[in-house]
């Protein structure tokens, strides 16, 4: 059954099979047919099959698709493509819908009215808007240079302040001192004298010196 030549040259064999019976083939064709089909009997059998079988296949038209299938598929297709076709369908429906002329007229007037109103508003708005005109001009740029800078400087100098014990002086003019002064007016003179001569009270320097002497035991 294995016939590699027959397989390789099947298209050529097919041409011979459909052309004419084995007996009507030329010598060369017969040789080829014998090689490719294996024998004359096989050739005739295959020829019969192809001719009759092809007719059977072509004539077999008894099966027709069920109309239900198309209905179902059509519905499925419409459902799937609803979003795509939606706008188109709506427009078609609108076109088919009978609308009285007066309604169309009213609708047109409303639309026109809106259009005019909007247009007027936009004109008014245009008038109110400030107009900005951009012009090119020469600009002089003044460069002022700073000549002298006055800076305020605050200088803080620390000075030693020696507080003297003047409390006693104040005390001298206290009520008690006044009483005494009234009793003895010379007291005031003595005190003033002592004060000016520097016998009363000591400065801080004197005090520190005094402290130094005390420490040294002098």
């Amino acid at each position: 059954m294995e016939n590699l030549d027959g397989i390789k040259n099947y298209e050529k064999l097919e041409v011979l099979l459909l052309k004419c019976p084995f007996s009507e083939l030329s010598e060369e064709e017969r040789k080829n047919a014998m090689v490719w089909a294996g024998s004359q009997e096989n050739f005739d059998g295959m020829r019969k099959l192809l001719l009759e079988g092809k007719n059977v296949l072509d004539e077999e038209r008894s099966i027709v698709p069920s109309p239900e299938i198309y209905k179902s598929l059509s519905g499925e297709f419409s459902l799937r493509n609803q979003s795509l076709k939606g706008i188109d369908t709506n427009l078609n429906t609108l076109m088919r819908y009978p609308v009285p002329l007066y309604r169309i007229g009213i609708a047109a007037m409303i639309v026109l009215g809106f259009f005019l109103l909007l247009n007027q508003k936009s004109v008014q708005k245009e008038e109110l808007d400030p107009k900005i005109v951009i012009r090119t001009d020469t600009v002089f740029q003044v460069n002022r240079q700073i000549d002298t800078v006055y800076l305020e400087k605050e200088i803080v100098v620390e000075k030693p302040v020696y507080v003297t014990q003047n409390i006693e002086e104040e005390e001298m003019y206290s009520d008690e001192f006044a009483e005494r002064f009234e009793e003895d007016p010379f007291l005031d003179f003595q005190i003033q004298k002592d004060f000016y001569e520097g016998t009363v009270g000591i400065t801080m320097e004197e005090d520190s010196t005094f402290m130094e002497f005390q420490a040294k035991g002098i």
Partner: protein, 193 residues
């Protein structure tokens, strides 16, 4: 308007109809259905043990596939080749399913019994059709498919190879053995002149 469009669609190629279908054009779907529904139904009928209800189901299923995933058809391919390859794959899946359930073996046994008892009749010309169909059922699915594609759909060897995703040599081989086997089964007929 619709009639005019219809005429226009009839002139369009399968491929351009498919492109329109992708955009949601219903008329293109109608036209493709008209062109292919009978052909596909016949193919399913022959491939699925001449089971008509099953073939109708398969026909519906294949068109649902087209509706649901039209983008599966790639531009530049031939529509007939593509649609028959989808149909062939559906049949192959059905064979696998049947083999898993051991249904094919039972059918074959049943046919074998029938063959043994009735095949010996002298074939009349009017019975040839019936006997041919039964002989066709004796072929394996690949041989049957190539035979139908070649002699029913008149497809070229190359187109069949594309549909079945095999080499041209394989198609030739299958055609050769299918023809020889059928001729053998129908040898009791006197050859035509």
């Amino acid at each position: 308007m619709k009639r005019w469009l219809g005429k226009n669609y009839r002139k369009k190629s399968d491929e351009s109809l498919m492109e329109l279908l992708k955009k949601g054009d219903k008329s293109s779907f109608e036209e493709l259905y008209k062109r292919y529904s009978k052909r596909l139904l016949f193919y399913f009928y022959k491939m699925l043990w001449q089971d008509e209800p099953k073939s109708q189901d398969f026909l519906q299923e294949i068109f649902i596939k087209i509706i649901e995933k039209p983008e599966a058809f790639q531009q530049g391919k031939k529509f007939s080749t593509w649609i028959f390859s989808v149909a062939h794959n559906m049949c192959k899946n059905e064979y696998r399913r049947k083999i898993n359930r051991n249904e094919i073996a039972l059918e074959t046994d049943h046919e074998k019994l029938w063959y043994d008892s009735e095949w010996q009749f002298d074939f009349e010309q009017n019975l040839f059709k019936k006997q041919f169909n039964m002989a066709l059922e004796k072929l394996n699915d690949n041989q049957k498919a190539v035979f139908i594609f070649r002699y029913k759909e008149n497809l070229s060897i190359l187109e069949i190879a594309e549909i079945l995703e095999c080499s041209e040599g394989t198609v030739k081989s299958r055609l050769y053995y299918a023809s020889r086997k059928l001729a053998e089964l129908l040898k009791n007929f006197s050859p035509v002149n």
